[in-house]
Symmetry: C2
Subunit: 231 residues, 2 copies
């Protein structure tokens, strides 16, 4: 019997996806990339499902919203987890590349996937990969701040994320076109930035040409998230 | 092998969920409740997946957005399908309550679920039910226009939709809190309007007290949708 459940949640203001992962039998659960303004909704759902929140996993130090991590920890005593290269203060666990962590019988692998930020990680569990702002649905995260590196994001996706099978479900941190998830196979075929046919020099040249606006919540979100969203 | 696939899509402007259903082997597919402004996106996706769009299913005559049905038909020759009580002009198939239609080996049941509008239908296929604006996630559709009836929506949900097993996945036409889907079991337990503990007289009294704003696109959307979205 498949006891492992995933619920995708959405924040309409910042277009952020949050994920609740749990084991139906033990009720142990993990939340990935919660949003501060949605903490009440998330706690309400956790309570309704009678879940026991063990961990808050962050994919990176977000620049577009403040994490709900610290607020969730206050209420549930969950442990806050970040990649070790994020430079955050106040996390309970700092994941190294390749770190393994269990949700009951199911194994989660932490993959250091720098490029959008220096400390970005992705999480793989049971046929699904949570790619944060590294790999988007037919897109890739911007690389122009927070130790961003076009070279690194290309390598992270091509040499780490794309090693997973084609039918692996890709759950990103955002989408702006109304898509909820993708697969590795779809991204290898159709991703205009990093699909199989796109060589690294082309990607790097295209990234250089991009002129992206300053993220509107940057000056508030980044300092707060470097303290795990303590507000 | 499970060849039946569902992809949920979202329109950010009107908070509408559209669903693409297909058989992975035959590539035959159905779209439920497409949005006019997203037709390019949807066609692009259909082409990428090499799908053969057979039918456009509508759950009802929408008041908040114009359907993409006629535009999709023009491009793909798909048949436009509505419930027979909708009063639309130009549909190819008008479903009666209990109508059965196949997507290859999988059977779809059309359920007449009046209440939000007189002609609303829900669609059940393989453990999933597409409830339109009849049953929402922890909510119900408004009943104050288009032959809406509080008595009918209560009966439709309690006596038709809630007959499906608790683990049936509920896919609604909208959500305004960042939830994507639910289950019959969750709604029976937690729906504040029509959960198991809510008697009909209480629901009817509560509906009377609701003072909802006039839908902003009503005067454009309803006439267009009564012609299957011909614009």
């Amino acid at each position: 019997m498949n006891n492992f459940k995933i619920k995708q949640l959405f924040d309409y203001d910042t277009w952020t996806y949050t994920y609740l992962l749990w084991n139906k039998s033990s009720k142990n659960c993990i939340i990935i990339d919660p949003v501060l303004e949605q903490v009440d909704r998330d706690i309400n759902l956790i309570n309704k499902l009678k879940l026991n929140l063990l961990y808050v996993f962050e994919t990176h130090v977000h620049a577009d919203h403040i994490t709900g991590a610290s607020s969730l920890k206050k209420i549930t005593n969950a442990k806050i987890c970040y990649g070790s290269k994020t430079g955050v203060n106040g996390a309970d666990i700092l994941f190294e590349d390749g770190h393994q962590i269990n949700l009951d019988n199911d194994n989660i692998t932490v993959i250091h996937t720098p490029g959008h930020t220096g400390g970005c990680v992705s999480y793989y569990i049971k046929g699904s990969i949570f790619t944060g702002d590294t790999l988007f649905i037919e897109g890739t995260g911007r690389t122009d701040f927070q130790e961003g590196s076009s070279s690194d994001i290309y390598d992270s996706i091509k040499n780490k994320i794309f090693l997973y099978p084609d039918n692996t479900i890709v759950y990103p941190c955002h989408n702006y076109s109304g898509f909820l998830n993708s697969t590795i196979g779809h991204e290898r075929k159709f991703n205009p930035n990093v699909g199989d046919e796109i060589k690294k020099n082309i990607f790097l040249e295209n990234e250089k040409k991009k002129n992206r606006p300053y993220p509107k919540k940057f000056d508030i979100a980044v300092p707060a998230n470097l303290k795990c969203g303590k507000v």
